[in-house]
């Protein structure tokens, strides 16, 4: 066990792309945590997808030994945090495991929405926040201005902040010295009953769940019987140890202040949820550590295999992803339109996209996904309250006393010239203007209260394109507000296509309905009969288009008796048909669903 005085536990926080992962790599190098040749770029992000998107999905932690300029060796525990708004809770738990945070700010871009969001999280967690100005090698770097910005906007002293280039390895040791000098050593009583905070976990096929934890009080030892205070799960500890950039080292015990892992043949990550407190069964703590709550899915959608025969593969893939991701929820769902699939819950839109992409990429599945849905709260006339995450569960309009939908406070930071179009966008999405602050001459922070429903489709994409990529977005849930909600059904040839139903704010229903029927008309190929495409609320049709009957699909000539061409044509037709979904007599290509989901990107 390391002396408390020689321990420093810290996180690195930053807006996306400001250089958090690159700085982590440099710190590891400087501490000789990894041999150069083993060093892959951005070691902490070890999923391909993370590397590709440049974001960190799952937190990781590593233990570094740094010999400071005063000649003393310090143990630095670097706890990586996920960098996206969907994972705010995970970020907060990672921060709760630290005493300090290095706030990386891009010297050219300055403060962005997540810089602020993360800095506030760190300040709220009582961390010592150490600003660092990164990317000073860029021609557009303006470190002095950015330091002023940090002082003015966040209120952190920043004049002495190290100016570094993580990419080029400039001035990295200044960051390490800052950490040693300014991050407080952890406190904690190693003789008290054991309490440790779970800030992450990872499933390993051989050892079960590897639980990442920060010990707050007492000592956890191999052989201890432990209990998770929230989930109630009990296990006997098989191994405790330290985490390294590559691999782990078992040790006999972890004491208060230390960061490491334990294993106990745990089969289910749900037993060891992020934020839960581990305590000893023999000598339990009186109360758990503060701040635990279950991560609640905010966005739901149906996920179906494009090829119905691959349902079992999809189930298998979701089970595997769930092993590492307790915040992913799913349950079987049946759609008359799409067959067997799953209703999946996600922390947010990015979380949903990541899961979909991993399913497609790592498990080689073609998916059809239904429109994302937030969780609506419906009070019925008999005063029962329903939480509706699926349009199929939406009660008939006459049974609804009141509908409510979740609202968020959105913070958007962008150059002033885009303020007009951003405000238009927010207004169009039922945003309620709060306030606007000039961070400096080049950036404005705008606050809106908006329905989450309006954000989950593709608000972020639209925002990026309207502002040529300059805007950044962060949002936090502020609770439910009453809202006049209706369920919009889509009918093809007179039959409701359940997979296309969705819940919508009443005043938006007509506009959405028009667009959807037009989109479907354009994306469903003409067939041998005329197909009406209708949108209806409770049986009342509010929009209609017609797909005209196909009139010509013929091979005029079978030349010289060469019928192989015709055979090939028919085979191709058959292949195409396999990708279609059959709705009664109507065939609908998977793309038609996608087209409907992408509706908002064009307005």
């Amino acid at each position: 066990m390391t002396d408390l005085g020689k321990l420093r536990n810290f996180s690195i926080i930053a807006h996306i792309d400001h250089g958090k992962s690159t700085l982590s790599d440099r710190l590891i190098e400087l501490c000789h945590g990894v041999e150069q040749r083993e060093m892959e770029n951005q070691l902490l992000d070890n999923m391909d997808l993370e590397r590709e998107r440049g974001i960190t999905i799952k937190a990781r932690a590593i233990r570094l030994v740094y010999t400071a300029q005063n000649g003393e060796d310090y143990v630095l525990n670097l706890i990586d945090t996920p960098g996206h708004v969907d994972f705010n809770y995970e970020v907060s738990r990672s921060l709760a495991a630290c005493e300090g945070a290095v706030l990386v700010v891009d010297a050219a871009q300055g403060i962005e929405a997540q810089t602020l969001a993360n800095a506030y999280l760190a300040v709220d967690a009582n961390l010592e926040v150490l600003p660092v100005v990164n990317k000073i090698d860029l021609p557009a770097a303006r470190p002095e201005e950015v330091k002023h910005e940090i002082e003015d906007v966040i209120g952190l002293p920043a004049m002495d902040a190290p100016e570094i280039s993580a990419k080029n390895g400039i001035n990295i040791s200044a960051v390490l010295e800052d950490i040693v000098a300014h991050v407080p050593a952890p406190t904690g009583d190693r003789s008290a009953p054991m309490r440790a905070l779970i800030f992450d976990s990872q499933y390993d096929a051989y050892r079960g769940v590897i639980v990442y934890l920060r010990v707050m009080d007492g000592v956890i030892r191999t052989g201890d019987e432990v209990r998770m205070m929230a989930s109630g799960a009990r296990y006997r500890v098989l191994e405790v140890g330290y985490l390294h950039p590559i691999g782990m080292t078992p040790t006999d015990a972890l004491g208060a202040g230390e960061v490491g892992y334990f294993t106990a043949s745990i089969k289910d990550v749900a037993d060891t949820k992020v934020g839960d407190t581990v305590t000893s069964v023999q000598n339990p703590a009186a109360s758990p550590l503060p701040g635990y709550h279950e991560a609640q899915p905010m966005v739901y959608c149906g996920i179906y295999p494009a090829d119905g025969a691959r349902y079992a593969d999809l189930k298998d893939a979701l089970e595997k992803l769930k092993l590492n991701d307790a915040s992913l929820s799913y349950e079987p769902e049946t759609s008359t339109a799409l067959g067997f699939g799953f209703r999946c819950g996600f922390l947010g839109l990015l979380h949903m996209e990541i899961i979909e992409e991993r399913l497609e990429r790592e498990f080689n599945l073609d998916l059809i996904t239904t429109a994302p849905n937030v969780v609506y709260r419906i009070t019925k006339t008999d005063h029962t309250v329903l939480l509706v995450d699926n349009p199929a569960d939406f009660p008939p309009t006459v049974e609804i006393e009141q509908g409510e939908e979740p609202f968020v406070k959105a913070s958007i930071i962008a150059p002033p010239e885009y303020v007009g179009s951003i405000m238009d966008m927010c207004q169009n999405r039922r945003g309620e203007y709060q306030d606007m602050t000039y961070l400096d001459k080049t950036r404005v922070e705008i606050h809106y209260i908006m329905p989450l429903n309006e954000i989950i489709y593709d608000f972020f994409d639209a925002l990026k394109s309207k502002t040529r990529g300059y805007a950044s977005l962060d949002y936090t849930l502020v609770g439910y507000r009453p809202s006049k909600l209706v369920k919009l059904d889509i009918l093809l040839n007179g039959d409701v296509i359940d997979a296309l139903s969705f819940i919508v704010f009443e005043e938006r229903a007509y506009q959405r309905a028009r667009k959807i029927v037009e989109k479907l008309k354009d994306n469903i190929p003409r067939q041998m009969f005329e197909i009406p495409v209708q949108a209806a609320i409770g049986g009342k049709v509010i929009a209609r288009e017609t797909i005209k009957a196909l009139r010509k699909d013929v091979l005029a000539k079978c030349y010289g008796g060469d019928i192989t061409r015709k055979k090939k044509l028919l085979e191709k037709q058959k292949e195409g048909k396999k990708k279609m979904r059959q709705f009664g007599t109507v065939s609908v290509p998977g793309e038609a669903f996608m087209a409907v989901l992408k509706l908002d990107s064009e307005d």
Binding site: F529, K552, V554, G560, G561, D562, Q573
Partner: protein
């Protein structure tokens, strides 16, 4: 000799004056290369001689010279090839012997010679009655040339003439097509083929398809339906999707393709259906000449067609014809149940796509227009239904 085994022969002539904008058939456009043509005749002669040994018990009742442009190839070459066929095969005295011709490459002298050699039917590529349309398609002739070619063919003694027309052309209106039909009927051909223009990948037309101002599918469908009814009123019976004839002048050779009959093809890209197999020569003229001369491989494809697939071909090909399909014929030949097909055909009949006449099921003109869809669905049904013999 076994009674009643008949055979068709197809000879491919892959030479043209120039390539048309829309054409993706195998042929070489450009000036006449006498040497290449001679070597090609020699290769065909050898190929015919060698192949004929395996077809001794067949009576050949149709011969078809297609292309390319056989008339452009010249009478001497065509006569030599046909002469070889007469020498090596048992050709019926009343066999239908067709050659394709373009209006710019026919002369009275040559046609007379060909008529004497045994050709008795000409299929002339007319396509349209407006010179600017012909020019846009890359056709190397005018409508005036087509009119005189018809006269010349009559004078040379051809009393079975077919004219090829195309609809759905760039900038074509329904009125323009109606005029073409009216004018062409005045030439009094015994037979007419009307093909919808299809943009084939790799053709020049495909390169500028988007700005070619092609009539849309609805307009093409209207042109087609107009042609069917107009030609009917002029006394031409529709006997296949794209083919119309006065009674008794149906193309026997083309019918053979649709009725599943046997035929042998000679020349690059020529297809055969013979002795249970379908095979095709590679579309490669030098390769063909070389392969024949030195005993190399000339086929690009050769497959044995199992009975089940023949059953599919039966639907696919017969439903192109006005005669259509028939239950007993189907059940006896393939030992498969007709009921599932019939159920579906009845639905199509309700929608006006099919009809049941004199014991046979056929597609209506409206059904022909979407025949790919209908045939595709019937093949699925056929595939799903079990054979009678398994019961």
């Amino acid at each position: 000799m076994e009674q009643g085994k008949t055979l068709g022969i197809y000879v491919h002539i892959p030479f043209c004056r120039s390539k048309c904008e829309y054409c993706d058939f195998y042929s070489i456009g450009g000036s006449r290369d006498r040497d290449l043509m001679d070597r090609y005749v020699q290769a065909l002669v050898t190929h015919i001689r060698e192949t004929a040994r395996g077809a001794g018990d067949y009576l050949v009742d149709t011969v078809y010279f297609g292309g390319g442009t056989p008339s452009f190839f010249g009478a001497d070459g065509l006569k030599r090839i046909l002469g070889e066929l007469y020498k090596r095969f048992d050709i019926a005295p009343d066999a239908e012997i067709t050659m394709e011709a373009n209006p710019d490459s026919v002369s009275l002298r040559e046609l007379r010679a060909l008529r004497r050699a045994g050709f008795n039917r000409i299929s002339l590529g007319v396509q349209n009655d407006a010179d600017e349309m012909l020019k846009a398609l890359g056709r190397p002739h005018t409508y005036g040339q087509a009119v005189s070619a018809v006269r010349v063919a009559r004078e040379a003694g051809f009393d079975n003439l077919s004219l090829d027309l195309m609809y759905g052309l760039p900038n074509q209106t329904r009125a323009q097509w109606m005029n073409t039909l009216r004018h062409v009927v005045e030439l009094k051909p015994e037979h007419l083929s009307c093909y919808g223009l299809k943009v084939e990948p790799g053709t020049p037309l495909a390169g500028y398809e988007d700005c070619a101002n092609l009539p849309d599918d609805d307009a093409q469908a209207d042109m087609y339906l107009y042609a069917v009814s107009a030609l009917e009123s002029y006394g031409y019976n529709q006997y296949e999707i794209s083919n119309f004839a006065r009674t008794g002048f149906e193309s026997l050779h083309n019918l053979r393709y649709w009725l599943g009959g046997e035929y042998l093809g000679f020349g690059p890209a020529a297809a055969s259906n013979f002795a249970g197999k379908r095979f095709t020569c590679a579309p490669d003229l030098p390769g063909y000449i070389d392969g024949i001369a030195h005993g190399g491989a000339i086929l690009s494809e050769c497959v044995q067609i199992p009975m089940r697939e023949r059953a599919g071909e039966y639907l696919m090909l017969r439903l192109r014809t006005a005669a259509g399909i028939e239950e007993e014929e189907y059940v006896k030949t393939f030992l498969m149940a007709f009921r599932p097909l019939e159920r579906e055909l009845k639905q199509y009949a309700e929608q006006g796509f099919a009809e049941y006449q004199r014991g046979r099921w056929r597609l209506t003109p409206k059904g022909f227009l979407v025949s790919n869809q209908i045939i595709g669905k019937l093949l699925d049904t056929q595939h799903a239904s079990s054979t009678l013999s398994k019961k």
